[in-house]
Symmetry: C2
Subunit: 154 residues, 2 copies
DNA sequence: GAACGGTTGACAACTTGTTGTCAATAACGG
DNA sequence: CCGTTATTGACAACAAGTTGTCAACCGTTC
C-alpha cells in the first residue's frame, strides 16, 4: 500500500505545481496584459513559426477545438492576432501574430527566459529531463480512454 | 538558452500531465458518480480523519475558500456529506462524510489503490519521490506572489 | 459591554476549459 | 455532377475554479 500512497502524493504534487504555475504565470504575464492561457496560445503560434488554423492550434496545444477557438476569437478581438484568408479552406482562416501580438509575446518571452535561466540553475543537469520523462510516461499510462465512440476527438 | 527551453518543456509537461490525470480521474471516478474534483474533496476529508470546516478543507487542498465551499454545498446537496453544528463557531459547520459518502469514497479509493499499485510498479523506487521533491521545489520557486495587499490569502 | 478587526457563508461576475449541437463548407466517391 | 461524409465556426450549457463584495458572526480590547 506504500506504493499507492507514493503515487497519490505524486499526483497531488502535480496538481499543486500546476495550480501554482498557472497562478504565477497569470501574474507574470499581467505586465503584458496577458494571462497564462493567452501567453500559451501566443507561444504555440510562435513555436509553430507559421500561420495555423484554429483546429491545428488546438491539436498542438492538446485542448479542444472549441476551447482554442474561444481564445483565438478573444485574442483577435484584442488585436493580438491577424486572420488571413486560408487559400486551402474558405471557412477556416489562418491565424498569426499581429505586430502587437509579436511585441507582446517577445516581451513576456524575453522576461520568461531570464527567469527560467535562474530557476533552471537550481536543478541538476539531468533532473529536468528525467522529470519530463516520468510525467509523460505517467500521462501516457492515463490516456483519455475514450476508446471509440467519441465526437471531436482530442 | 538551452536551459530556458528545458524548463519551458518541463512546465508544459506538468500542464499536460495535469490535464490528462484530471480527464482520466473524471472517467475513473464516474463509476461512483464522482468527478475528479469531488473525489479529491472526499479524499481530503478522509485523509484528515476528522470533521473539518470549509476553510480548513480549502487550506488543506490549496484552493480558495469559496471554491471549496461551492463543492461542499453540492456534495452536501447530493447527500455525500453531513453538516454538524460547530460548537466553536455558529456559522461554520463541520463537514464529514455521510454513510453514502464513505461508501462512495471507499469504492473509488479501493479501485484507485489497485490501479496505483500497478502504475507505481512501472517506476524505479526513488523516482516518484524525487519527482515530488522537484515539483514542490518548482512550485515553491513560483509562489502566488501576492506579497502583501491580498484579500483572502491562499 | 460596545467597538473593533478578522472569519465565514452566500452571492455574483468572470476565466478557462469541457461537451454537444447546428449549419455551412470542404472533400471525396460514384 | 451529385450525394455522402468529415471539417469547421458559432453557439449554448455546463464544470471548476478565481476574485470581489456583503452581511453576519467571532474574539479581543478598551
Amino acid at each position: 500500500m506504500e506504493q499507492a500512497k507514493l503515487l497519490s502524493d505524486t499526483v497531488l504534487a502535480i496538481f499543486r505545481a500546476n495550480g501554482r504555475l498557472i497562478a504565477w504565470g497569470d501574474h507574470f504575464a499581467a505586465a503584458q496584459a496577458l494571462t497564462s492561457a493567452r501567453w500559451q496560445m501566443l507561444g504555440a503560434l510562435a513555436l509553430a513559426g507559421e500561420p495555423l488554423t484554429a483546429p491545428q492550434i488546438a491539436d498542438s496545444m492538446g485542448v479542444s477545438r472549441q476551447g482554442a477557438q474561444k481564445q483565438l476569437n478573444l485574442l483577435f478581438a484584442d488585436g493580438l492576432l491577424t486572420r488571413t484568408p486560408n487559400p486551402a479552406h474558405q471557412r477556416s482562416p489562418l491565424y498569426w501574430l499581429s505586430a502587437a501580438g509579436q511585441q507582446c509575446f517577445n516581451e513576456v518571452d524575453s522576461r520568461w527566459r531570464q527567469h527560467a535561466l535562474k530557476v533552471a540553475a537550481s536543478f541538476a543537469p539531468g533532473e529536468l529531463e528525467s522529470v519530463q520523462r516520468l510525467l509523460d510516461k505517467l500521462a501516457s499510462l492515463h490516456p483519455p480512454e475514450d476508446a471509440k465512440g467519441e465526437n471531436d476527438a482530442r
